[in-house]
């Protein structure tokens, strides 16, 4: 039996509507899984961007260091200039290559029976050098003899460009 055009159009309209409803239902059912996947991807992007911030900080630090002179300020000279009445024992602990043309050097300085105020002066002077020495460790043992006197062991760290 030949179907009338109107009947075909009606069946077509009904089928299209049914398809739309089924498709919508399918999409709604899958939407939970989709949003979970998207949330997981967004979380990953957020974490990676946080990691990138740390990495950018490192890159910015290298850029800032590159403008500093490539000389190593002498700790011995600094100690002589700032600490009076005590002799510094200076010992190089280690020197290592970090990469990207940069290395790090650690040096230990010991002062016996020294005025603690002069140590503060020494540290201020070392930290303001270009490039700066940075305090990495410090051990202070006060002397029972007098207030403000003690033995001090400082571990100083410096970053330097390697040839």
């Amino acid at each position: 039996m030949k179907m009338k055009t109107a009947s075909i159009l009606r069946i077509g309209a009904g089928a299209l509507f049914a398809a739309g409803i089924i498709w919508t239902a399918g999409n709604l059912l899958q939407s939970g899984a989709y949003f979970d996947k998207m949330r997981s991807k967004q979380d990953a992007i957020t974490k990676l961007r946080e990691i990138k911030q740390q990495n950018d900080l490192l890159a910015a630090s290298f850029d800032a260091l590159s403008s500093l002179p490539n000389t190593v300020p002498s700790l011995s000279a600094l100690a002589s200039a700032t600490v009076t009445g005590a002799v510094a024992e200076i010992r190089e602990l280690d020197s290592r290559t970090m990469g990207r043309g940069w290395g790090a050097k650690r040096t230990e300085i010991k002062f016996s029976d020294v005025s603690l105020n002069s140590i503060a002066e020494f540290l201020r002077s070392a930290e303001t050098q270009r490039p700066p020495w940075r305090l990495a460790e410090c051990v202070i043992v006060s002397s029972p003899k007098a207030d403000g006197i003690g033995s001090v062991t400082l571990t100083m760290e410096m970053v330097m460009r390697q040839p």
Binding site: S61, L65, W102, R134, M158
Partner: protein, 455 residues
């Protein structure tokens, strides 16, 4: 049936094979305005196109009856009504056109339903009569219901009063019985076999009397209403009323313009399209305009369905494409960041964050001295801790500090002074542990405080 596409209605009756037409329109205030349409003898009347004409089937050619159903639910009632009507009819229901026009609840909350039915062949005959006069009515109403409703519209009923409307037409006499607002029954008598002869009141009374005796209690007060072409003859109306009120006392009234009362009634009902609307022009007898309107409405409905389906499909397609693009963009961004942070590493899909974190953390550890150059100097922290000790009246005997931890040993005069230092260290981001002992020889409190820097 909604005929709202028509703005005015015509009522057409065929008393004595003479066509009478009334045009009715509803004013903005809701009042129905009637005007009689006249046509020259032998010529077809001129009506507005499309012709929204309501005709009627005579009382003698149709049937009205109240069906008492046992159901309190209207839906259930609607399901059984055709079967109940079929039982009551003297001919097969399949040969009839019928309407259920009024639903009334009984004292037992069940439904009584007023049914109107007529044989299809009779309706076809009536349509042919109309067509012979140049009219093709959209609606075929019921004469009795039309008379009843128009009478109530023109003269509202007093509650519980019996009303009898007598339509005096040249070829027949119809009378409708009702109580209050409720239509009860309708009857019709063939009148005056000789054309143009006026029926005798005594003869009419005798024939009516037999029927009314079965319907009404003796001496029950009744309101008598007259209409129809012959109601313009006062002598006929007075005589008939005198005879009738002798049995059932009550005043009478003749409706205004009684000769056009029926077409007026038909037009009013078609215009009102209310609860008691009735159209016996059904199925294959349905008017072509109505069929066309149905077809249009059906086409419109399917078009809407098609558009809704199309909209849904497009919406879903857009949803899927957008979702897919967003997901792809997110993957590309992850891939870009991974390549930027770990350019030389092959990282499996889904493991980007932990692997990159590991690589960058190792890089941070390797280049920690570079970061230390620009971080807050440890010497500054050392100075703060020494000053805090002075403020808390503590005497340090040993102080060890690195970037991660601190150990302070010392003495103080008061047990609680150490708390101040502990609080200060905690504010600076250390997690502290403290050991305190009372000195045996010097009466001082000896303490050791350990602090670990929190990440």
């Amino acid at each position: 049936m909604n005929l709202s596409f028509i703005k005015c209605r015509y009522g057409a009756s065929l008393p004595g094979k003479t066509l009478k037409i009334v045009r009715s329109t509803r004013s903005l205030t809701g009042r129905i305005i009637h005007s009689t349409v006249t046509s020259l003898p032998g010529q077809q009347p001129t009506l507005e196109s499309p012709s929204p004409v309501a005709g009627c089937i005579g009382i003698q050619e149709s049937l009205t009856l109240w069906l008492d159903t046992p159901f309190t639910s209207k839906n259930k009632t609607l399901k059984v009504l055709p079967s109940m009507l079929d039982v009551q009819l003297p001919f097969p229901l399949e040969d009839c056109c019928y309407c259920f026009v009024q639903f009334r609840r009984n004292a037992a909350r069940t439904f009584s339903v007023l049914a109107v039915a007529a044989r299809r062949a009779i309706i076809q005959q009536r349509l042919d009569q109309y067509k012979a006069c140049g009219i093709d009515p959209i609606i075929i109403d019921h004469e009795g219901l039309a008379l009843w409703q128009e009478s109530l519209r023109e003269k509202p009923a007093r509650s519980d009063t019996t009303r009898i409307i007598i339509g005096l037409e040249p070829d027949h006499i119809s009378f409708v019985i009702g109580s209050g607002n409720i239509f009860l029954n309708a009857h019709s008598l063939q009148a005056a076999p000789e054309a143009g002869a006026v029926p005798k009141p005594e003869e009419i009374f005798q024939r009516m009397h037999r029927i009314l005796c079965a319907e009404l209690q003796a001496k029950k007060p009744v309101e008598w209403f007259f209409c129809g072409d012959l109601a313009r003859r006062p002598e006929l109306v007075n005589s008939l009323h005198r005879l009738l009120s002798g049995e059932w006392p009550g005043a009478y009234m003749v409706h205004g313009s009684p000769e056009t009362f029926l077409p007026r009634a038909l037009a009013s009902r078609a215009l009102a399209n209310g609860d008691t609307a009735c159209n016996l022009r059904q199925r294959e007898l349905t008017h072509a305009d109505v069929r066309m309107e149905h077809k249009k409405r059906s086409t419109r409905a399917f078009l809407m369905l098609f558009l809704a389906g199309m909209t849904l499909c497009l919406f879903n397609l857009a949803w899927q494409i957008t979702g897919s693009i967003q997901f792809k963009d997110a993957k590309l961004e992850i891939s870009r960041l991974t390549r930027e942070l770990a350019p030389d590493c092959a990282i499996p899909y889904g493991r980007e964050v932990p692997e990159v974190q590991k690589i960058v953390q190792k890089r941070m550890n390797d280049f920690a001295p570079v970061l230390h150059v620009f971080a807050r100097p440890l010497a500054t922290r050392l100075a703060e801790i020494i000053n805090a000790g002075k403020e808390a009246r503590l005497a340090y005997t040993r102080l060890e500090i690195t970037r991660d931890k601190i150990i302070i040993g010392g003495t103080t005069e008061d047990w609680n002074y150490c708390e101040r230092l502990a609080k200060r260290l905690e504010n600076s981001g250390y997690k502290t542990e403290m050991e305190r002992t009372e000195g045996q020889e010097d009466n001082l409190v000896h303490f050791i405080m350990k602090g670990t820097a929190q990440p």
